[in-house]
């Protein structure tokens, strides 16, 4: 230490990093950024390991992941990488919400917020590009749809799609391009944005330390209101990180990451694309825009998002940081967050669930026997049919043969439902008929 100190004056640097006081009311929500950093490091380590066995070409990517999955440790490392990606998205968003709630984006910390915005976009970019790399159906079609959205940009949409995919379609060239973006460009952007983000926090202190500085300025003794960063607060920080670490390792062990069918550009198996869960809100939102307004959803909404994200410190002119004095900003945020959670939930529950083979049910219950079939087979096109109120509109209670629902699924009236998919089994149709025969009750 002395040797280093003589040359680089490290003790002054260490003092500035560790010696400052932190207010006692600071709690674990103030350490979410630190937890995010931990998960990013976890991503870097597991990502490096994966890069050692992964082969970034359309011919070999899938089989290289398959070979990796065959070994327990390989599968575990991949599960960690996949779970960390989810953790990272969640932690970044929680961190953002906490900073928003505390009003910490306001003067003088606007630049820290901007760098945080870059980190959020970088994180989502990493998640999106990583999805394609295993070259399975899920990744292939999610990427096809995700990149197709860029095509809605007026004027140069086709050009953008072409640049993203390195061609008109998602091909092996896209895979290699995404690989380099995922491995080199985005990590570089994240690191370049993280350094100033972190440096600004060190330089200015967390926003909660401002009250200490003011008290000190007034000549008060702050030792009662604060505890030293090292070791008191640092211990709390590492405790939060430890909890995250345990959750990550345990979840990865219990729910290991699987591998779907290999990517098939001809989609012979009739796979229906769906996004990663954190894009489900956007996916659901798109369903509410009629075709002619799609450009608004796919170009307008992202622009509004970017303006809000990067313009927030200047759009919000209210100088107060106390949550009680910012009713408008907080209400807008609450509405947005609840809306997004609702859309995500709706989007996720609109995906068909696999059905247990039940056979014919003699006296079916709506909730137990009928609704699950509707949810599995019908709601993709008929978003609201799996509610009792809507189902009952399509049946005549007690008269299965006269019910539109039955006529459409047993083929006696065109078009046979579900359109474009396998028909329902005889057992399922009979279960529906029995339920209607029993009076189509909401049981």
């Amino acid at each position: 230490m002395k040797w280093l100190d003589e040359r680089l004056n490290v003790s002054a640097l260490m003092a500035s990093l560790f010696a400052h006081p932190v207010p006692k009311r600071s709690n674990f929500l103030d350490y979410l950024g630190f937890a995010t950093l931990f998960v990013f490091i976890s991503q870097a380590v597991t990502g490096i390991l994966l890069a050692m066995v992964y082969k970034p070409s359309a011919a070999e990517a899938y089989s290289s992941i398959q070979a990796l999955q065959a070994s327990t440790i390989g599968n575990y490392v991949r599960s960690l990488h996949s779970w960390s990606a989810n953790f990272m998205v969640v932690l970044v968003i929680l961190h953002l919400l906490r900073v928003f709630y505390e009003g910490a984006y306001k003067r003088p910390r606007e630049l820290t917020w901007i760098m945080g915005g870059v980190l959020l976009v970088g994180t989502l970019g990493l998640a999106f590009t990583g999805y394609l790399l295993p070259w399975d159906q899920e990744g292939y079609w999610a990427t096809t749809v995700g990149t197709a959205m860029a095509g809605y940009v007026p004027g140069f949409g086709d050009f953008l799609v072409n640049v993203l995919r390195d061609g008109a379609q998602v091909t092996g060239a896209t895979l290699t391009r995404f690989y380099s973006v995922h491995m080199l460009i985005l990590p570089a952007i994240v690191l370049l944005a993280f350094m100033p983000h972190f440096f600004f926090v060190l330089r200015q202190g967390m926003s909660s330390t401002d009250e200490l500085a003011e008290a000190q300025h007034r000549g008060e003794d702050i030792s009662k209101k604060s505890s030293p960063f090292w070791p008191n607060v640092a211990l709390k920080m590492i405790s939060l990180v430890f909890v995250v670490f345990i959750a990550l390792w345990v979840l990865s062990a219990i729910y290991s990451k699987g591998l779907g069918e290999p990517a098939d550009a001809l989609n012979k198996s009739g796979y229906i694309p769906e996004p990663a869960w954190y894009f489900f809100g956007v996916y659901q939102l798109l369903k509410y825009f009629p075709g002619t307004l799609d450009v608004l959803a796919m170009v307008g909404l992202p622009i509004i998002f970017f303006v809000l994200l990067f313009g927030l410190p200047w759009l919000d002119r209210n100088p107060s940081r106390s949550p009680k004095k910012r009713p408008i900003a907080l209400s807008v945020a609450v509405v947005l967050v609840i809306g997004m959670i609702f859309l995500t939930y709706q989007g996720m529950s609109s995906v068909p669930k696999p059905l247990a083979a039940a056979g014919v049910v003699a006296h079916p219950s709506y909730k137990k026997d009928v609704q699950p079939i509707l949810q599995a087979k019908c709601i993709q096109c008929h978003a609201d049919i799996a509610t009792y109120a809507k189902t009952i509109e399509k049946v005549s209670a007690g008269k299965p043969a006269d019910s539109l629902l039955i006529k459409r699924i047993d083929g006696s009236q065109e078009p046979v439902m579900p359109v474009g998919q396998d028909p329902l089994t005889k057992d399922q149709i009979q279960t529906f008929a029995n339920w209607i025969q029993d009076g189509a009750k909401n049981n």
Binding site: A58, G167, Q169, T171, A265, L266, P273, P290, V419
Partner: protein
């Protein structure tokens, strides 16, 4: 200490500005060169290679008014194309990507429609939009009959 000469100061100030300008110009020039390199390298390539005609089977393989999915071996991957024998109207070929968000459409013989499973877009046998969000008809692809062979090529713009 030397006494400063106002006239000399002015000269050195001008000199400094010029030097700073020089530093800036050189830096920006180098930066732009790399950006240009990036743009040129990543930019779309010419599509000439993708328009090569490929045989996809005998005319007899395609029954009238029944679209058949065939594979066009594109650069690096299979491209799904529906080949449709319209009888007296001849052959057409349609790219199987929905024009909304490019999910793969399925032909449903019972309703004689192309259906997109993602957001419910519907097209008729010629790829014209019937309902749903798709903004454009299905993309046409080049199709040619040589003797008994059906050949298909790239997208018609």
């Amino acid at each position: 200490m030397e006494k400063s000469n106002p006239k000399q100061d002015a000269v050195s100030l001008g000199r400094r500005k010029l030097l700073s300008l020089g530093i800036g110009t050189l830096g920006v020039a180098m930066g732009i060169s790399y950006l240009g390199l990036f743009g040129k390298f990543m930019g779309p390539k010419s599509v000439a290679a993708a328009t090569k005609l490929q045989g996809v089977g005998n005319v007899g393989k395609f029954p009238v008014n029944t679209p058949t999915l065939v594979s066009y071996k594109g650069a690096g991957t299979d491209e799904g194309v529906y080949v449709i024998n319209l009888g007296s109207e001849g052959f057409i070929a349609l790219d199987f990507h929905c024009t909304h968000l490019e999910c793969a459409v399925n032909w449903v013989q019972a309703t004689k429609q192309f259906i997109c499973p993602c957001h419910g877009g519907l097209y008729d046998i010629k790829g014209t939009v019937l309902s749903g969000p798709p903004p454009k008809p299905l993309h046409r692809r080049l199709v040619k009959i040589e003797g008994d062979n059906v050949l298909i090529g790239g997208r018609l713009v």
